[in-house]
Amino acid sequence: MKQPVPPAKSTPAGSAASTSDPGPQRYLLRAALPTDLDALERMAAASATGITTLPADRVALAARLARSTQAFASGDDSSGEEIYLFVLEDLATTEAQGRPRIVGTSGIAASAGFADRFYSYRNEMVVHASPALAASNRVHTLHLCHDLTGHTLLTSFYIDPAHEHTLAPQLLSRARLLFIQTFADRFSDRIAAESPGLSDDSGRCPFWDAIGRRFFDMDYPTIERLTGGRSKGFIAELMPHSPIYVPLLPEEAQWAIGQLHPVSELPFSILLDEGFDAETYVDIFDGGPTVEARLAMLKTVTRARRVRLRVRLREEAAAAAGTAGTALSTPWLLVAGTQRGAFRAVLRQGAPAGGEIVLDADTARLLQAEAGAEVCVAALDVFQAPGDDVGADGDGDGDGDGDGDGDESGSIRGTPGSEGTAP
């Protein structure tokens, strides 16, 4: 199935560095606002593939934004129904209105299934043996299960193709884990994420054709329409509840089990690098992999530290600018604020020391954090080399060949549907 992501390393990719290009510092992840509706609609329309939590429907998107806004702001205890949407601003690019352009989005559903069950197929292997016939077979079976019900889901990942070879996807995906860790009482300690499975441009899906279609005689888009946006559990109830013997499926469907739609390779690779298990569960409709992990075991979470923010004085900043060797050995950090209602995260190079991290005043302002405030930092496996634009991540394209073509992710497009469906 999925290959493990190679160890992280510094890899040049994307456009050549320029002194005017702020590099990864140009990105700001923040809680989505109702005013982001146009941007979300644009991104939802940019993808027609996969099971989307960003429906190409303005009304539905507005409703999701409203739910998200309420979830970020709510002073109530979590009910599990909450969804949280984030957007990624490119501070180096402004829209006509003078606002930074939104180039990505991601989300969190607090509790998979919420009031309903969350269905998955669990991969299991059973060994059938007949010593007298000198035969022993490992038989792959799919078991309809609710194992992931109540897990927190990572959802709605989308990055504009122009930014997918940068560090932006890292910020967009991993900062959510800092958010979950910071507000752990609102989430499960187990995290899951769905990824779209194989299907063609017409929506034909070999896994669905081999299983679901035998029970519905409809293609999946039709079924989704018929359910009128209700929980998928409604459909799952009509699916076979006994284990499915994979050897009985057509070969094309067997191959599709656990296979990714190409559009989701980038976010999926980040999740694998985090340490998610991708071998156990698949989506019941398209057979795409559903990853799962304990929050505490994830790379970003294990590296996360709470530190005090010290704002660098102007003189210190000037001195730092003259220290050419710093960037060679200093890792890039995810730096996130700790306010739920105004959650923000950025990428900065630095090395926390003595329980504090030194950031410039602009960064402090972006994080809406004052000097002395607590921030959360976690190191990425990325070090910037002189003359390189940071675009490789060791877990995204990560080809490491230095040709700057982004290789495996060169044709990757982000997908609003990756990482899950509506809870």
């Binding site: 007949s130 035969a135 035998r214 359910t227 499915i244």
Partner: protein
Amino acid sequence: MTTTQPFVRPATAADLGAIQALLQRAVTLPDAAATPHERLLVVVRSAADDGDGDGDGDDDSDNGSRVGRDIDNDSDSDSANDSANDTSAARQTVLATLRLRPVIGLDRPHVSYHVGCTVHAAAELGLFHRQRTLLLGHDHTGASELADIAWLQQGAPLAEQAAALRLGVRAALLAVAMQRRAYAATLVAELPGPRDSAGQSPFWHGLGRRFYAGDPQAAAQQHGPAWRSLVAALLPRQPVYASFLPSAAATAIGQVAPAAALLADVLEDAGLRYSHHVNVEDGGPLLEAMLDDLPGVATARRWTLAADAPPPGAPAMLLGTTGATRALRAAAQAMPGPHGKLRVALATRQRLGGLLPGDTVWAADCALPSGAQGSPA
């Protein structure tokens, strides 16, 4: 050469060659010590030479008229030659064979698929799908079984084939009635499923082969009937939706091989019905019945033979000697009462092994199905 009425008797070693030819595989005689109530029966017909001078009392004119007639016919003037001729298996033709097992599944698992049904319905979506399921199990463990059924087909008119099969099945049921406690509450019989001209089963191809890549026929030859319980360990133990099978395999579920249609008719005529189970090898159906509900068992009782013959027009009954050493169909008249007696012809008594008035005989109703030829004389 003339032929006589068929009758049923236990197989002997001398019959094994003929039985194996019919079954196209090796067979063994029941082990009387291990399974005293297992019966391997043969339906045979004696061949008698005209004018052979053997003093067997052939009624040539009667025998001659019987050629080409329905073998279920019987008459008072029936030849008594059988009692002499049938002592020599070499002079008898094995028309059919079948094995009556008092119990199955206790020495080795008797596996089959239960063919179930599950409905997936959602009124709001206008969906209503009925799905067939197969569930591997041992549901017939402890049942009695009619097995190893084969019959002579080449050169035999269909009516004669049917009559031979019917006689064999009814004789087996009479044997059950004679030793009722030795048999189970239910009786099962398996019918072969469809195969292609190369002997390959589409059912196996679509299901079993996905779990056992070996050649089932070779395995069956190597391991005998036990091979099914051996291969069952490799087959799916959870329900399998038939809709996941290739259409040819799904279609074959519960279907009878065309060559076995006659046997299916005979067994159903005897009262057995599809049990919603199929065999794991070719998907052929298992028929089942409550033994006590079968006319062949329910109407069977023991009689004392009267000295006089039945009147003309007496119905045919299935008659069998105690110990199930001989069974045949012949005209008989029952005279119920506390000491009920049965009138049969002298020739019939001779064919039953030279029984005398006052001897015990078992008899059961043996009406022919509508449309079948023949009536007792």
